[in-house]
């Protein structure tokens, strides 16, 4: 493929990225912003050209160690639920814009520490960027089958690099407030993560199914290599140890690499996205590595004997088979991996560079004098140039230093250097005592070891030079620490981190930090407690004027935003907007606002410039912190207590309302009882009056009236009895005497007294028995009552020559009894109400019962006390009552006095 054609492909690809970023910015739709998969995919920026090309090289030459780059992260990532959630919170609250900010803020917001950390990142990452450029350049030449030109200016790959530098610098600086999320770029990165995976899958499938006949084919052929077995097992304890250490290196890197910190922490929009990343990211890595094995061994098989760089098997294999499409796709995949790394890394490095080195060490004076628009422009310009400069520097680095080195070793060296930040990083969130001096000492010591152990040898080895003189003797001296069974890189990792962490711990423990450090230590380690009002947790004493600070804020945020922010602040802490002096909360608040623009270190310097802080002793600060901690706990207790009180008062109110309702219900009940009683009394009185006054009343009528008196008296009695009985049932004064009984016999006992009445009315009564066992647990006397009430009810409403049918069956292992009688239907709205006491329907089509009107209510109460249910249904030519009697149940009111 011609250079020009490939160059155009690259152009189109970059245009696509641009388009995606632009659209994502423009739309900002909820779907996009809240999508956890975009976040999870953006984390895959971890997979760079090193993964794409380098891993294949390692797999083909040294076997299993290629897995270590992925296994490390896989081990660490589940713990992110705890670690990263806290870091995200800390960063959000303190408007952290970079890794350097995060660490240096914790250790006292020191400008020098943040500058040093920035330099460490630069030293670690610029070579890494160079690695990407190397990959792009070399694959470009491979695909176009052109040699690398000695003259940089005529080398086509150079133009690609310049293009990328321009693209990154433009797109990386769209926002000055570094804490603002860059939705556009992250979307583009997510797309790239997807594409590179997709393309490597295509390549994998190509190799497995097109070049060979399936996975087992490759495996079988590859296993004939003499070193196959060796490469696929660990080389004893030594191999396993190296393997383990390499995993540790990559496990550290996944947390600390600036680009990982940026995508995982700073660009995190919602804490819950971390949960998706927990499983999604390892899954992504798994799919990625699945294909490395076949591609690597496929390459070995195809190019056996030839002197071909295995790192580029992925390009060479499809090219060997003259498949231009796959070749270009693979190239694009590699391009994706490289570009995403370059963009994110250069962005985050430029933020660090501008916030921690350029601005605080030179430009603060200038900023104080300018207005917001100018300041913004200046900052943007600084960042733009930084990005461009960094990419070009990386390019130069590649050309002069790592031309001949493998991708793998450059990458690993980067990892080890960046790992020097680990003690300070993890110590920041877990250890209150970790101090600035400890971090600094440990960091420097670790770096020294890295320098002598990794960088110098690398430099010399790539130029096949020998150590001379002083360096030689130093090198020999250090050989005492040589660990024979660890490779060079794991060995250096081990010693450097040991010394680093050791010094960090020892110095932090022996020397007290200053109070500012201690303050931030509390804020970091106890982030959950301070999350609501972190401004309160900041301890500061001195003189400061709101107007002075406001002037500074205006210079970076502009008038409007400053006013808005201050209004919110005053509202939050209930501060008078006319107040002239500023307190510690305002100081923290202002520092936070500025940190978003120029980093925490510079923000602190600017604010310091217009305030006068009093010295506080560490002891005082610790006391204040203790106090505020106690206050927080006290506050919590008070809130809890007040909530309990509120709940109690709510309960009380409910109970009161209940009582009122019950009282009214009682009144209503008494009314209806009185009403019910008056009816039979009226009949009795009327009959009695007539009998008393009328002497010549015909005997048959006389007899009738006398009978009336008797029957109505009985009725009266029945009503009174039922009322009292129902009352007892409701108040639990009747204990259920639950025993095992034969349900059919109980039924017979209930039916007997009613039999002659049934015969009288010519009613046909039958039972259907679908039970296979008859013994159930219930109170027999009550059930007899229930049956009699139901049957009596059925009797009353069945016309002459009607039918009553009782059915016994089991449903869902519990006893069901239905009693059906022919007769008029009950109106729908009354089906439930007929069980109420004395219920009289408005649209009564049923004649009023002659009974007490309480029969069904008593039935319901009895069955409820058994934990069961009763209901009525219109069915066919009549009405069915359905009774459900559960097993002996905790709901059975065996013997409890229910309160009113």
């Amino acid at each position: 493929m011609s250079s020009f054609a490939l160059f155009s492909v690259v152009l189109v690809y970059l245009a696509l990225l641009f388009l995606v970023a632009y659209l994502a910015e423009k739309k900002k739709s909820k779907l996009w912003i809240n999508n956890p998969y975009i976040y999870a995919l953006s984390l895959a920026v971890y997979c760079t050209a090193w993964t794409y090309y380098g891993s294949i090289g390692v797999a083909a030459t040294s076997g299993l160690s290629y897995l270590t780059i992925y296994i490390g992260p896989v081990i660490v990532i589940p713990a992110w639920i705890y670690i990263n959630t806290r870091i995200v919170r800390i960063s959000r609250i303190n408007k952290i814009s970079s890794l350097a900010d995060f660490i240096s803020l914790r250790y006292g917001n020191s400008r020098s520490l943040s500058a040093i950390i920035t330099m460490v990142c630069l030293f670690a990452i610029i070579p890494y960027i160079g690695l990407q450029i190397k990959a792009i350049s070399e694959t470009f030449h491979l695909v176009t089958e052109t040699p690398v030109s000695k003259n940089i200016l005529t080398d086509s790959a150079t133009f690609v690099v310049v293009l990328i530098a321009v693209f990154s610098s433009y797109y990386g600086t769209r926002y000055v407030d570094a804490s603002e999320k860059r939705l556009g770029i992250i979307s583009a990165i997510a797309l790239e993560s997807f594409l590179k995976l997709f393309f490597i899958i295509i390549l994998g499938l190509f190799v497995i199914y097109f070049v060979f006949d399936g996975f087992s084919d490759i495996y079988e052929k590859a296993s004939r290599f003499s070193d196959f077995k060796a490469k696929n097992t660990l080389n004893g304890v030594e191999g396993a140890l190296n393997w383990m250490v390499l995993c540790m290196i990559s496990g550290t890197a996944i947390c600390i690499l600036p680009r990982q910190f940026h995508t995982a922490i700073i660009e995190n929009r919602q804490e819950k996205h971390i949960k998706t990343a927990l499983w999604f990211f390892p899954l992504y890595l798994l799919v990625f590595t699945l294909f490395i094995f076949p591609i690597a061994w496929g390459g070995r098989l195809i190019f056996n004997g030839q002197n071909v760089n295995p790192e580029f098997y992925s390009i060479l294999i499809p090219q060997y088979f003259n498949n231009t499409v796959v070749t270009v796709l693979v190239f694009l995949g590699g391009l994706s991996s490289s570009i995403s790394m370059i963009i994110i890394s250069s962005i985050t490095l430029s933020i660090m560079l501008s916030n921690n080195m350029i601005i605080p060490y030179g430009l603060l004076g200038k900023f104080k004098a300018e207005n917001e628009a100018n300041n913004t422009r200046i900052i943007t310009r600084i960042r733009k140039f930084s990005i461009f400069g960094l990419v070009i520097m990386a390019f130069a680095f590649y050309k002069y230093f790592i031309l001949k080195t493998s991708l793998d070793s450059v990458g690993l060296i980067s990892f080890v250097i960046i790992a020097q930040l680990a003690p300070g990083y993890f110590g920041a969130i877990f250890w209150r005592r970790g101090s600035y001096r400890g971090v600094l000492t440990g960091l420097v010591a670790g770096l020294v070891i890295c320098y002598f152990g990794l960088i110098i040898p690398q430099y010399y080895f790539s130029y096949n030079q020998e150590f001379k003189g002083v360096l030689r003797s130093m090198y020999d001296a250090f050989s005492f620490f040589d660990i024979p069974y660890l490779g060079r890189i794991p060995e250096v990792f081990f010693w450097s981190l040991l010394l680093n962490a050791g010094l960090f711990a020892m110095i932090s423990v022996s020397m007290k930090g200053n109070y500012r450090e201690r303050n931030f230590a509390e804020l970091y380690v106890d982030i959950d407690q301070y999350i609501q009002n972190h401004e309160n947790a900041f301890i500061w004493r001195g003189t400061a004027y709101v107007s002075d600070i406001r002037n500074i804020l205006v210079r970076f945020l502009g008038q409007k935003k400053t006013e808005q922010a201050m209004r919110i602040f005053n509202l939050k802490y209930n501060i008078d907007s006319e107040a002239e002096t500023a307190d510690s909360r305002f100081i923290k608040f202002s520092e936070n606002l500025l940190a978003g623009r120029i980093g925490t270190a510079s923000a602190k310097i600017l604010i310091e410039g217009v305030t006068k802080e009093d010295k506080i002793s560490l002891k005082e600060v610790l006391n204040i912190l203790e106090e505020s901690k106690e206050n927080i706990i006290l506050n919590k207790k008070l809130t809890e207590q007040s909530q309990e009180l509120k709940k109690l008062s709510d309960d009380l109110q409910n109970a009161n309302e209940n009582l009122i309702v019950k009282d009214r219900q009682k009144d209503d009940f008494l009314d209806s009882v009185a009403h019910e009683l008056r009816t039979p009394i009226t009949a009795i009185r009327s009959a009695g009056e007539i009998l008393a006054d009328d002497d010549d009343i015909p005997p048959d009528i006389k007899k009738e009236f006398l009978n009336n008196i008797i029957t109505e008296s009985d009725r009266l009695n029945e009503i009174i009895n039922d009322i009292l009985y129902l009352d007892k049932l409701e108040h639990g004064e009747i204990a259920l005497n639950v025993r095992k009984n034969n349900i059919l016999e109980t039924y017979k006992k209930a039916l007997n007294p009613l039999l002659h009445l049934i015969q009288q009315k010519n009613i046909h009564i039958s039972e259907v028995n679908l039970l296979n066992h008859f013994i159930f647990e219930y109170d027999e006397a009550r059930l007899i009552q229930l049956f009699q009430n139901i049957l009596g009810n059925a009797l009353k409403f069945t016309g002459e020559q009607g039918t009553i049918q009782t059915k016994f069956f089991i449903r869902e292992q519990e006893l069901m009894i239905t009693v059906f009688n022919t007769g008029k239907h009950i109106p729908e709205e009354d089906l439930e109400l007929i069980f109420d006491k004395f219920y009289q329907s408005k649209n009564q089509n049923i004649l009023k019962q002659a009974g007490s009107g309480l029969g069904l209510a008593i039935c319901r109460k009895i069955i409820q006390n058994h934990g069961g249910t009763i209901r009525a249904e219109n069915s066919g030519l009549g009405v069915t009552f359905i009774i459900h009697l559960p097993h002996r149940h905790k709901n059975m009111k065996l013997n409890d006095k229910k309160a009113l």
Partner: protein, 63 residues
């Protein structure tokens, strides 16, 4: 997510550390083959897959 569910994930991390560390990984370090593939490879990928599934289940269950 409640603390104790978080701890399950931390335990997963620790478990993975153990699974990939010296004594345990060497157990599977033989030239034997499982399902036609090197035992160590199978072991690594199997543990990897199980960890993904475990993490997924924990996250989804206690959402």
């Amino acid at each position: 997510m409640k603390k104790r569910h978080e701890q399950k994930l931390i335990l997963l991390s620790i478990g993975l550390m153990v699974a990939f560390s010296i004594p345990v990984s060497l157990l599977f370090n033989s030239e034997q083959e499982v399902l036609g593939y090197p035992m160590l490879l199978v072991y690594f990928f199997a543990v990897w897959m199980v960890s993904i599934i475990t993490a997924f289940v924990i996250v989804k269950k206690y959402e």
